[in-house]
């Protein structure tokens, strides 16, 4: 069997007060897979993503491209797994977009010119003009911020991309444009969202989390055609059912 991009086994996580947020989660993503992580608000989608990058320490095993997440391997895992936050504001913490996008490469010891070139490529890959690099994050629209934050992750050339509610505050055009960008990326993607229309446009497979438990690992089409199942999971089918 080929090396998985991500393999999660028996993952559990409890918050400080002992409340269980994730319980015995196991799944696998092959290289290049695009998988939707679905569930209603509070299901544990974001918590799972934070566990994957080792910011939250969970029980169980997380393996990214053959590297087991542990105290000594967190940096290696984070170089392979890029996480796009729900709020892009939090990932744009420097005064200019260029400083944000070159942050990762420079921190990894890449030379200034190469980092700058990589930043220009990354910003282009998310459909933003190179001039965006010189702008301040607050000058950008919600959609541009989302893309700039994505560029700051893509510049690191991750093997696996995890996105937390990527369609937050995006209009229909912004969602379609983001889906177009993500569809062109060769890396595996785990897309945590409650936007089923977006998930359907992007992913062929869905993982459904409800109250911290993985209740379904199913093809997206099968999930969307199961109205009762959707209702049971607290999800609402998209209004349109064509491929547009």
């Amino acid at each position: 069997m080929a090396l998985a991009a991500l393999e999660v086994t028996s993952l559990s996580y409890c918050y400080g007060q002992g409340a269980s947020a994730l319980h015995d989660i196991s799944f696998r993503l092959a290289p290049g897979d695009r998988v939707a992580l679905l569930g209603p608000n509070g299901a544990g989608k974001s918590t799972l993503l934070w566990c994957l990058v080792g910011v939250l320490r969970a029980q169980g095993t997380i393996v990214v491209d053959g590297t087991v997440l542990g105290p000594g391997t967190a940096a290696e895992i984070r170089a392979k797994l890029g996480l796009a936050f729900a709020e892009p504001e939090d990932q744009l913490f420097m005064p200019t977009v260029r400083r944000d996008v070159t942050f990762g490469p420079l921190a990894a010891g890449v030379g200034s010119e190469e980092a700058s070139r990589a930043a220009e490529e990354a910003i282009g890959s998310v459909g933003l003009p190179a001039e965006t690099l010189e702008r301040a994050a607050y000058e950008l629209s919600s959609g541009e911020r989302r893309r700039a934050a994505l560029a700051s992750i893509l510049v690191m050339d991750p093997l696996l991309l995890a996105l937390d509610e990527p369609t937050n505050s995006l209009d229909a055009r912004g969602r379609a444009s983001l889906a177009g960008i993500l569809l062109q990326l060769p890396c595996a993607q785990l897309v945590a969202t409650h936007d089923l229309e977006f998930a359907r446009a992007l992913c062929a497979r869905a993982l459904v989390l409800v109250d911290g438990e993985l209740v379904a690992d199913t093809p997206m089409d099968a999930l969307l055609s199961d109205t009762n199942g959707l209702q049971r999971y607290g999800l609402t089918a998209p209004l349109r059912t064509d491929d547009g």
Partner: protein, 239 residues
Amino acid sequence: MPHHLDLYVKRESALHRLDPRAKMLAAMGFVAAVLLVPTRPAWPTGALLLLLIGAAVLARLPARLVCRRMLSLVVVIGMPFLLSRLGGEATRAAGEQFAARSLLVAAAFLVLLASTRAVVLLEVAEHLPLVSVFGQLGEFILRGADLLTEEVVRTNRAWVLRAPSATLKVRLTGLTQASMSLLARAAARSERVGAAMVLRGFQSKLPMATPTPLSWSHLLAGLLFALISLGLAGVVRWR
């Protein structure tokens, strides 16, 4: 304006194009000259003022904008100056010296900040020994101020919408109360920003791009301005 805290004025001018490091060198020379020249007689201070006005003209800064910005400084600096007028001769002389030097130094920085983006100056500071940490802190402050300003504007709008007829006093009270929740939100955000930095490989120092070499022509321009200022101070002191 690129940042809320930025005083940059976008213009096509020779001073705007000058390398920020050369401008900082010129500014440092100018400030040293201001501190060296006595304020009595007044002509050396006047000559330095003319030099600065020349720089402002070179930067094509609108006179009205410069005056408006200077006005707020005049209020701050004017108070101790006025108080000094109540004292004896020595106190009055000290008050004049303080006012003249403060105004010239403040005006020099005003011209520097109006012709150079704050973020560029901070990046230069990042590479300087001793002040590097302030440059890094400044970058976070610049970004943080943008976020805080937006939050305050949103909070104020929310207050206005919820209580359209509220007096300014009520609104200010509301903003003060809301500032506590702003602080809580800022703390929560700083945790997420910390995570974002760590996820991108941050260890203990902000990664910096290697600066490009400073060209001779720019260095000479900065040096020339600094030397003219210092030369003037030297002539006055020597006489």
